[in-house]
Amino acid sequence: MWRYVVRRLLWVVVVVLIITALTFLIFFVMPPTDPATTFAGKQPTPELIAEIKHQFGLDKPVYVQYALWLKHLVLGDEYGWPGLGFSYVTRTPVRSLLLDRLPITIQLAVGAALIWLCIGIPIGVISAVKRRSAVDRLSMGAALFFVSAPVFWLGLMALWIFWYKLHLLPGTGYVSWTDNFGSWLSHMILPWIVLALLYAAFYARMARGNLLETLGQDYIRTARVKGLPESTVILKHGLRASLTPLVTMFGLDLAGLIGGAVITETVFNLQGVGQWTVQSVFSGDLPAILAVTIVTALAITLMNLVVDIVYAYLDPRVRYA
């Protein structure tokens, strides 16, 4: 088992290397943006442009830049470890920007995840159990709607209704929970719910579908025939088989939110990794782009590994390759 883990970890490293190399390819080799031009101002002298290029490290060949970046990543640079350089836009170390933004994204992701698990799965289970009842139809109808509505639309509508029109919730922005817990909560509620609704709907549908399939299996019929109470049948035998696949999905969905919750963070002005992604691409902030890339890639590939291990633990039929 450990050999498997080690092999997978090595693979994580390789994936991250490949993806960061691709990022370099897209943004450095055939750049849609030239930082020296962007930041040089109105009438720069050629010396100024050369100086900016030099200070940004852009005057070296691309493969050298990549090698240097890797070296700093692993060994650290003047700003600390890992060495991610400084942001072209703010002139502050990328590392501290990342450390500022990561907690916000994690709070958004975890909060939404808790909500969608607590809403989505029970609703899915109940719908499956009470198949074709009014509860089933209603909840699946709602789920269908929330799965089909674009998130930016949902977010903006929610903001407009609950803040602008009804004044029930404060506007956009983030307040740290150490500063003011109540304010933090009231600012996070809407983004949590908007994000959670989308996933809850999805998980409800998946849970319902999986449970229905499982309940159609032979061994469930056997359990019923054996005289086990229905609740045991469902909760003990049905759930385990139908929810295990959801574990995999959950892990990957959660990992995907690190750097993936772009639109929610933008609409609600949460300065997390997702919002940073769009901002850094649009402003040509190459070090930030690389930082976001590596965080996203790491999150997903590591979570892939975790999820595979957990799944193997939960489902004894699965063996490691």
Binding site: P32, D34, Q43, T90, R91, G173
Partner: protein, 627 residues
């Protein structure tokens, strides 16, 4: 000798006064919303505002920084030898002595020496706390001279001050600047520079304490988080900065590039030394809020006292103009800026002047203005220079491509196009393949994205089919000459300081064509040798029109002594460009729009920087900021 110098200064003052009178107040644009400057001023309160992101070009280090808003902020944080009153209109573009005791007789008769006497007992803010000396002013120039500090507009000084070339490796005394005593500073110039005083009003020349800045001379932008105040306000937390050694310094807490900038009063500031600024507010609190609509909603609700940087969306403007009680809180002031469509003379079909003229005739500028949000945001442009930059001596009355209601004149455009070699059947519509599939670079945000269909539609009428590309980094695309982008909607140009010359050489000068960061989009004055150097192909046998001689002539006329002649010379240049060269279709002379809450009892606009004047506004909220 003395008398002649005084007279010359009187001449300058007169010229300047005429500029002030002619430019008038902020509402010098027909149809633009009248600005409401003035009001009651009481001391106290905090101006709370927000913007979506600071967007500084060089980290807020005054030596290198070039963002227009930064000049507004420096106006509160720093003082220069000469500065402005930070008010609207021509009065806001007039120079006054700030750290200098007086401007009388500062220039020698040959214009090669400038001598200033500094006001005594003007002090730096905490933690430096000592009097500002001539050495501190010189230090600013030493930093401008350091190659690694990337001065954004260093050329202004390298070309004028002896001993400066922008290539220094470290901070060294400048041979052309003398500091015989703490109160005196003398500049020796390489040649007569008639706008030298304007150059001294730029933020990079404000005094800088070497004991702090010396730690940040190796990287561009390093000093930006440690800016020490020489003005009425300082960054909050400056007093807590530990300057005992370079290693001990931590960024001043009041400025966090991703979150906020908070300014509080500089305890060492003496109002009696300053008659240019009112300094009514106790503090300025700028937050970063990436949701722009949010910012304006907060102003409407009163949680913020006003906007700062972004223009309000049309839905917000509507709330102000349709509500009589709110109307006065919507402020529209001249931005001293022109937005235009450029055409690249090196790419067919824009090498043919008839095509360029036809484009000017056909353009539906009224539609573009509507897409921009209407007259609150500006006035339709009919030539290069905004009226406010040329003392209103030439406005919409000069329109060589007139059309009814500015909607574009398709008939006249077609007449013009018939004379072009790209219209083979002379029906007024371009039929050559050169007119199809032309890349048109545009920005990817409103209002440019809204103006795009109007432009595409207009050009289509004369057979020019463009492929719009909405780019986040449009500057790189259009300013890299090798790309040879044929046409762009993204371009704009604003003044550096109130001299029409700033709209001359950089935009239309042949020698000003550079491989990257090029602002001469049309490639006016391009020579075959330069084209080869730049590696671009030009249409066979093409001679590029040049206005270099005209620009040189106008630049010879002194800004300080012959302002009127200089302006009129550049106005003639403007007319010539619009009739004989036609590299642009100018469409808007922009207004900068700010909204304020009723808590702002006195609103003022800083004409120099183009934003709300932080040192002249007054608020009556009871907010406080901790120092």
């Amino acid at each position: 000798m003395g008398r002649r110098r005084t007279l010359r200064m009187v001449g300058l003052a007169l010229a300047v006064a005429m500029v002030a009178a002619a430019c008038g107040g902020g509402d010098n644009n027909k149809g633009a919303t009248a600005t409401t400057t003035g009001g009651t001023a009481q001391k106290g309160g905090v101006y709370r505002t927000a913007m979506s992101s600071f967007g500084f070009t060089q980290g807020f280090d005054p030596t290198a920084e070039y963002l227009g808003l930064a000049f507004d902020l420096y106006g509160a944080l720093t003082r220069n030898l000469v500065s402005y009153k930070h008010v609207a209109g021509g009065a806001g573009n007039t120079l006054y002595p700030d750290l200098a005791q007086s401007l009388d007789g500062v220039a020698s008769s040959d214009g090669l020496t400038y001598t200033f006497k500094l006001k005594p007992n003007v002090k730096f803010g905490p933690p430096v706390n000592r009097a500002i000396t001539s050495k501190d002013v010189e230090y600013a120039f030493e930093r401008l001279n350091i190659a690694t500090l990337g001065a954004g507009y260093g050329t202004y000084y390298y070309e004028s001050i002896k001993g400066m070339d922008g290539k220094a490796k470290e901070a060294k005394p400048i041979s052309g600047i003398e500091t015989p005593d703490d109160q005196t500073i003398v500049f020796h110039l390489k040649q007569k520079t008639s706008d030298f005083l304007y150059r001294l009003s730029m933020a990079a020349t404000a005094p800088i304490p070497s004991e702090v800045a010396k730690c940040f001379n190796s990287k561009i932008g390093g000093y930006g988080r440690y800016v020490i105040s020489s003005g009425p306000y300082m960054l909050q937390g400056s007093d807590k900065l530990d300057i005992s050694s370079c290693g001990a310094m931590k960024p001043i807490s009041g400025y966090d590039p991703t979150k906020k900038m908070v300014m509080v009063r500089n305890p060492n500031y003496d109002q009696s030394t300053d008659d240019l600024r009112g300094n009514y507010v106790d503090g300025i609190d700028i937050q970063v809020d990436s949701n722009v609509d949010d910012i304006f909603n907060k102003v409407l609700q009163g949680t913020l006292d006003g906007s700062l940087y972004e223009p309000p969306p049309a839905t917000i403007v509507r709330q102000y103009v349709t509500d009589p009680s709110k109307k006065q809180y919507l402020h529209s002031n001249s931005g001293d800026r022109t937005w235009f469509i450029f055409m690249n003379l090196s790419t067919p079909p824009f090498d043919d002047i008839h095509v360029r003229k036809a484009a000017n005739f056909v353009m539906n500028k009224a539609g573009i203005l509507r897409a921009w949000g209407g007259t609150t945001f500006g006035q339709i442009a009919t030539h290069v220079m905004p009226p406010s930059v040329i003392n209103d001596t030439l406005g919409q009355d000069f329109d060589p491509y007139k059309s009814a209601n500015f909607a574009g004149d398709e008939a006249k455009a077609k007449d013009e196009m018939k004379q072009s070699k790209y219209d083979s059947n002379k029906d007024g519509v371009c039929d050559a393949s050169a007119c199809k599939g032309l890349i048109m670079v545009n920005r990817n945000t409103p209002p440019w994205t809204n103006a795009e269909p109007v432009v595409v539609d207009s050009l289509g009428k004369i057979g020019i089919q463009v492929k719009p590309r909405e780019l986040a980094d449009h500057y790189t695309a259009v300013q890299t000459v090798k790309n040879q982008i044929p046409i762009g909607l993204d371009a704009g140009w604003g003044k550096d300081y109130a001299d029409p010359g700033t709209f001359g050489a950089p935009l239309f000068g042949g020698p000003n064509i550079v491989p990257t960061n090029n602002s001469n989009y049309g490639l006016i004055g391009l020579t075959p040798e330069k084209a080869k150097d730049l590696g671009i192909k030009v249409p066979a046998g093409m001679t590029f029109p040049s206005v270099d001689a005209d620009i040189a002539n106008c630049n010879k006329i002194s800004v300080e002594e012959q302002a009127e002649q200089r302006t009129s010379c550049f106005v003639d240049l403007d007319k010539k460009i619009m009739t004989d060269v036609v590299p642009w279709v100018p469409f808007l002379w922009a207004q900068n729009v700010t909204t304020t809450a009723p808590s702002v009892t006195k609103y003022e606009f800083d004409q120099f920087s183009g934003y709300i004047s932080l040192t002249q506004i007054a608020v009556n909220n009871k907010e406080t900021v901790s120092s």
